[in-house]
Amino acid sequence: MTGAVRLGVVLLCHTQLDMAARMARIWAAGGARVVIHVDAKAPADAVAGLKASLGDLDGILYSRRHRCGWGRFSLVRATQDAAEALLAAHPDLTHVYLASGSCLPLRPVGDLLDHLALDPHRDHIESVNALDVGWTVGGLNEERFTFYYPLDWRRQRWMFDRLTNLQRALGIRRRVPKGITPHLGSQWWCLTATTLRAILEDPRRAEFDRYFRSTWIPDESYFQTLARRHAIRIESQSLTLAKFDHDGKPYQLYDDHALLLEESRCFVARKVWHGAAGLMAQFPKAAPGNGSHALPQPQRFERLINRTVRRRLLGRPGLYMQSRFPRKDCENGKTSAPYAVFQGFADIFPDFETWLGGHVEADVHGHLLGPDEVEFAGRPEIGPGAISSSTALRDRDPHGFLTGLIRITPRMQVFQFSPRDNQAMNWFMATDPNAQFHVVTGAWMLPLLGSEMPFDDVRRVAAQLQRAELAQLDILNSVWVKARVQVHELTDFLARPQAIMQAALQQLQVPTQPVDDLPPMRDMTGLAELLRQLRNSGLRPRLTGEGLPQVEPRPIDEMMPERTAAE
């Protein structure tokens, strides 16, 4: 025993009694007095085994057994009885530690005694005012204290929820006994014997017990609340490292956590998986050198847990896989990285893809969603991530195709797009903040210029493509757009291509070369004539813009009707 601190330990055990026996042995070997409460539900032979295996240690007490239900007052009752038995048997104790059979002491009990001796009148119990929201995870907060909870949440969940809703609807508010303010905190604490005695021998204990009996999860509030009434100084942090996940379930500890636990310098950790033999063999472990006075630093461990909770709740943006398949608009990030879509540029500049590839630090693909082939940069048969260039495979799941490509490649993805391509991704990309659209409308018409197709076919194709692009522009102009969209009409673009190109490249936000030259432009002779022919055949071109140079003005043009306001 170090100094004046004499420690008693209340060990609450439910299952895995063999592990509990090991823990009891660790505590007892460190000089602590131990009282064990075994859940009345534990089978008799297991209890006999526990007692037999601890038979060589004297001074181990066994308190009256209660049937413990999760979140019920029975847990508090068990603690009370065990603590009373402990204090009665060892009246000289100065501190009592509440631990479970799966709480593993990480440091020698002597370290803990030294730590307690620093301020022998301090109570180590996490105790947070229940009105200050945010202590609880995945459950009720203030309502724990204002409603009645006669039912077991685990076994009678449906009725439990109904009853809670009913009380909410009826506006029931239980009165908290005078003189106490509800507090919450980790159920694992270390109180001074003085405080604990004061709680147990409080003249109003019957009243408090009655009140807490029908609150919810009183093991997280009974001692936490009453300690505020009796303690001199409270250190509102548990000495037991215990983290909960988003469901309020404690994290289990495994062999591979050993290093992290050692670095945490915490005294006790829960909850150890019963098969983690490595942990139990390794701990408690004295710190090397002069580390016995080191203070607990659980932050790194807590970061790991928080990271995992984030992964469970938010996941990795842009990932679609067997255990993460978000509904539309629940994606937490539709894609994993920024990407850019160039539409029309490759029609104006046939060499645009190569030229752009030389000007930006990005993977510049051709028409990834094209009709004939998935045009990966360099046209490999199998693209990044072993994605096939087969259009049939791509069109089986275009979402998976695009998101997978973006996620597997380290550099920014840039690709060409046109109304000729698969339009299935339009809404997805338009509502994705990672997307950038640079569109020159009506440019799809240029490849028709050089085609040798009969005019009827040209007209039919032009009608299809124009319809596709108009539908796409409807999406890009909708109020749900999250992508960055730059739309230029063909004539606007042709008026000042260099400036627009420069602006587009700057927007990519990757290292770019200055645009001092443009790739060779497609020969545009005959465009005005084609437009005129289309117009005359009844297909009004709506996307190329106004003001194309009229190469061969003919009298008939003057006969064309003006665009009406409605258009």
Binding site: T308, R311, L314, R316, I382, P384, S388
Partner: protein, 342 residues
């Protein structure tokens, strides 16, 4: 499927009828199974069981048993579908194996699932049950440091009854025939490559499962007809209840909620992978044999495609293939996830 999709009967009732049909069928087919050695009395409380159907897999068995024993399988229940290569004799002598023998048609027993459903019903209830083929090797987050019991007790604690593990096709660099597989050897020392990111997913709203396709088989053999490619989604690890039944291989089960192993609100559930050691030197012989028997799914269409492909000397490796390192690599690639199992 036994029942028509578009009917007036509510889906829930149709699913229930189908489940009852599958269970009845499994019970009915139990007579096809002749017990060879029954050590099921040794199955203890909380034991993790493995259920396997096999035919002529003798040279794979030593490594298979070794792998899963190390992982924490307590008892193996094998159905020997008329092997003639000594598989039965080998298994009979293993202390933790119970063995059944049958000559019945693999195809007519729904590709062995009737037999497995029966064994699961009879011996699996209340246990975590892993249903795999002899060429499937389960890997899951932390599998290098935590045994299968750690996973199942965590799943129990989280209130989950099933654990998904997508099939990941592994293949060697170079022709499949080049490096012969030696009995007892680690197949992934040879077939150590996989496709990282070419998987397609769609949701089957009737059964609730995800339908995953892709990987090297789809990329090489089903370029023109992606829907015919093999399904890769699997739910091999289930805390069995006698009311459950596998519907189609281990791709999906009934009741439906057992298939809901994925998160739809953007989060990630825990999941693993079944490393698929199919593409070894043993494959060509096997595919020829299976092609003769025509006992596989959809008239062995898959095997026909492989065989045509493999005859041409195709090799599955490409410059984008990744070499398998460990589960962390799979997690970084987004093929598996630790979910909230820190």
């Amino acid at each position: 499927m036994a029942l028509k999709r578009h009917s007036l009967i509510p889906e829930r009732l149709r699913r229930r009828a189908e489940r009852q049909y599958l269970i009845a069928r499994a019970v009915n087919r139990r007579r096809a199974l002749k017990p060879v050695v029954d050590r099921t009395a040794r199955i203890g409380k909380g034991a993790i069981l493995a259920f396997v159907t096999l035919r002529n897999e003798r040279e794979r068995l030593p490594y298979f048993l070794d792998y899963y024993r190390r992982l924490g399988i307590d008892h193996f229940l094998f159905v020997n579908n008329d092997s003639d290569d000594g598989s039965g004799a080998y298994l009979r002598d293993q202390p933790d194996v119970s063995l059944w023998w049958t000559r019945a048609s693999y195809k007519k027993s729904r590709f062995g699932m009737d037999w497995i459903n029966w064994l699961l019903l009879r011996y699996g209830t209340g246990h975590w049950c892993l249903t795999v083929d002899p060429d499937e090797f389960l890997t899951y987050p932390h599998c290098d440091s935590r045994p299968l019991q750690a996973l199942t007790s965590w799943l129990d604690g989280s209130g989950r009854t099933s654990f998904p593990a997508m099939l990941l096709d592994m293949y060697p660099q170079g022709d499949i025939e080049d490096t012969p597989y030696e009995e007892g050897g680690d197949p992934f020392a040879i077939a150590s490559w996989f496709d990282p990111a070419n998987y397609t997913i769609s949701k089957n709203s009737y059964y609730g499962n995800l339908w995953i396709q892709g990987g090297p088989r789809t990329r090489e053999f089903f370029r023109a007809d992606p829907l015919a490619g093999p399904a890769l989604n699997k739910i091999p690890l289930v805390k069995w209840h006698w009311r459950y039944a596998y519907v189609s291989s281990t791709h999906m089960l009934l009741p439906r909620q057992v298939n809901l192993v994925y998160d739809e609100d953007g989060g990630e559930q825990a999941s693993g992978c079944l490393l698929h050691a199919k593409f070894l030197s043993t494959f060509a012989r096997k595919s020829e044999e299976e092609l003769d028997r025509r006992q596989h799914y959809a008239d062995s269409q898959e095997y026909q495609a492989y065989h045509a492909g493999l005859r041409k000397g195709t090799n599955l490796w490409c410059s984008e293939s990744r070499e398998f390192r460990d589960w962390r690599q799979l997690e970084d690639l987004g093929l598996i996830s630790r979910g909230n199992w820190a």
